[in-house]
Assembly symmetry: C2
Homo-oligomer: 420 residues x 2
């Protein structure tokens, strides 16, 4: 869930080399449009945004939370994560009719549990695993499951600011009578609510706990970033509802697979019902691909099983994140115009060493007195960010993705360092 990169209404593309009229929706989505590859002429699977060809590329950078940083890792692993699907396979709606989540592939369930046991970041024994079309769908499913169907008023949905900008958008876009966005959890008054707890938090990387507690209140823990590449694994989380996604754990955003770990069977049943009504289940192809990919990650650390390999995703990811955060802190220091959250660290039970928190997003503050709109200021220098006011925070702050490909990240860093 903590992944939605697209509600980027403030993103404007500046493309003097590619004139022509750019429509509003192209402006919104085209972080870096790819001239000439649109439409029916294509003969190959898509590649997302194009690579930057040199340091003088005038296209904008910094856009979206697209986790393409991980592509380099998966190119190295060869066919360990390759999936072959025969034409006749998994044609049925049904995957596992004895499971609460009847449309979930047993292989996916199995590899989700295995990876959590390998990493130690979440409890799985006694939990139902549910699969969703990305964790965004399971976020909506949780709101549906936790809102009393017979209530007079919609249930209030809250989260501590700065909160992920998609929470209010996804909660309210259908104007549901079941649930309604109610803003910052810290200013909420009442007994009945759903509190969204994102930890590490999108946008600022903070480690969080629920701030509200009442008998009638419920919490949904969005743990999309609770993986060793981003943060020390300090405890095995065991909340009632925990959301995860391959987008941020392995980088496979295009696969649109998320999962929930749910304690209560009735909540699991109602969440499943949501997915049934919304999309009649979840792509089997992507479930099988996710199972393959998650399995390849676990294999990398399977010392006991003899399968441990030199392809270790979390080692790759942590190395990259440490390096990128070092570059970013140096660039901010060179500029002098920006500040970043202080670095924190903790004992990582997975890596068995002290590790820093290296968030997937940078929560950057512009310290210049003459700049009140940091996103606008950066946009003027071809750095695309999401403004703090989208997260219920001060527009002197912006969120910047740390997960882009190397070429784009390097250009972002050099542009930032040059700003005074």
């Amino acid at each position: 869930v903590a992944a939605l990169p697209l509600l980027l209404h403030q993103y404007i593309v500046n493309q003097p080399h590619h004139p022509g009229v750019v429509s509003p929706d192209q402006q919104r989505h085209a972080c870096a449009p790819q001239p000439g590859t649109s439409g029916a002429a294509a003969r190959a699977p898509s590649t997302g945004k194009p690579s930057f060809t040199n340091a003088f590329d005038i296209r904008s950078v910094g856009c979206s939370g697209d986790p393409t940083m991980f592509e380099a890792f998966w190119r190295e692993t060869g066919d360990a994560a390759e999936l072959v699907i025969p034409g006749w396979q998994t044609m049925s709606y049904f995957s596992d009719v004895g499971n609460v989540c009847w449309f979930m592939e047993p292989l996916f369930d199995q590899q989700v549990r295995r990876l959590h046991r390998t990493v130690g970041n979440a409890a799985v024994d006694g939990y139902h695993v549910l699969v969703g079309t990305g964790s965004t769908q399971l976020f909506m499913a949780a709101l549906y499951a936790l809102s009393p169907a017979d209530a007079d008023q919609p249930t209030s949905v809250v989260s501590t600011a700065p909160y992920y900008s998609s929470y209010p958008a996804v909660t309210d876009f259908l104007r549901s009578g079941l649930f309604r966005w109610a803003g910052d959890a810290n200013s909420f008054v009442g007994d009945s609510y759903i509190e969204l707890v994102c930890s590490p938090n999108n946008p600022d990387g903070a480690i969080r706990d629920a701030v509200l507690s009442s008998g009638a209140g419920k919490a949904v823990h969005d743990l999309a970033y609770y993986w060793p590449q981003y943060t020390p694994i300090t405890r095995r989380a065991d909340h009632d509802i925990m959301l995860f996604t391959v987008s941020k754990s392995t980088g496979h955003a295009g696969t649109r697979i998320g999962w929930a770990l749910v304690k209560d069977r009735e909540v699991a049943r109602r969440m499943t019902k949501f997915v049934e009504l919304n999309t009649i289940g979840v792509s089997k192809d992507s479930q099988l691909r996710a199972a393959k990919v998650l399995g390849a990650v676990s294999d990398g650390y399977d010392v006991g099983g003899g399968g441990a390999s030199r392809h270790r995703l979390f080692d790759f990811g942590r190395r990259k994140m440490v390096e990128r955060w070092r570059m970013l802190r140096e660039a901010a220091a060179a500029s002098g115009a920006f500040s970043l959250p202080a670095e924190t660290s903790g004992q990582c039970n997975f890596a068995n060493e002290t590790a820093a928190n290296n968030p997937a997003f940078a929560w950057l503050r512009c310290d210049r007195e003459d700049v009140e709109d940091c996103a606008g200021f950066l946009r003027g220098h071809k750095i695309l960010t999401r403004s703090g006011n989208q997260f219920g925070a001060d527009p002197r702050y912006v969120r910047v993705s740390m997960l882009d490909r190397d070429d784009a990240y390097d250009i972002f860093i050099s542009r930032l360092a040059s700003l005074k």
Copy 2:
């Protein structure tokens, strides 16, 4: 959209060979549970419901609209529809940043247009193609796109009875303030509405046109069954919004891919926005699989391109449907207790011959004076159906799937023929 097989609250499984407590959700989904294959022990992709082993199998039949009939075809085609996905492929959220539907794989767009040109069932020139997680998601997207965001009251959603039972359920489950189910189109009074036109109609196979017409009203045409295996292709449909799905065209229900053909760019943009907010796009893996499968279907008829093969999906499908309808009409006649819609036919521009309408569902009426609840009566004889009252119709009617595997269909026929 006309595919949702799972809102089957009336389906009860009778399993004296498999005692143990069956929970309500298992009862609902377990049309034919598969003992011993549930959970994490599985080592292979799922196969849906298990095959029947002999004619004396005591499990129930007739359940759901699962299109597993088509598996036999795809097993015959060999690797023509096999998909290989390397671990590093399509990891980005983005597929085609210049397209309104920025998350759609260009290969999918291309093969959708090619198949419609091959079959002649729908116009594609001047249309936007949009991809969805099944056509159910695009059905919701259409309601979202066509409902004015600033209206005081939810827009009324209507369809002529008998209407697909999922229309009211999917329209109302989130209690949206944007749209609300308003029942049978024939009794609707007002100017502002969204009319759902399913043709051939689920459940009764009727060829339909919109019954309402006003300047402020909108229509959504659900053409899930407008393919040569089910009905003669009498014209190239060119409505404002047309919905299709691989579930019913090729039988790949588990792939969860539907598409919309949309004339108006702003409607296409808003439908895309719905999918963005709901699931941040659609599985690339399944889009690529659908492109492969649709391409294999077109290849079968590509005489000009020299690629025409002996594997022709619509020939297979029509042969099966003709045979199954013959068997069903004979069984109903043998029984004497049931009647079926009269057979209709027309000139099929695709097959270039007169062809009968062979719907994907049988709309069966029980003519026995002592039976008011046909679904309950059949359930007592281990035939699972959906009651007419789910479709806004008389409970003397039931809907029965015509798309199950041969073994299950044969048992259904023999059980039906024996009822007096």
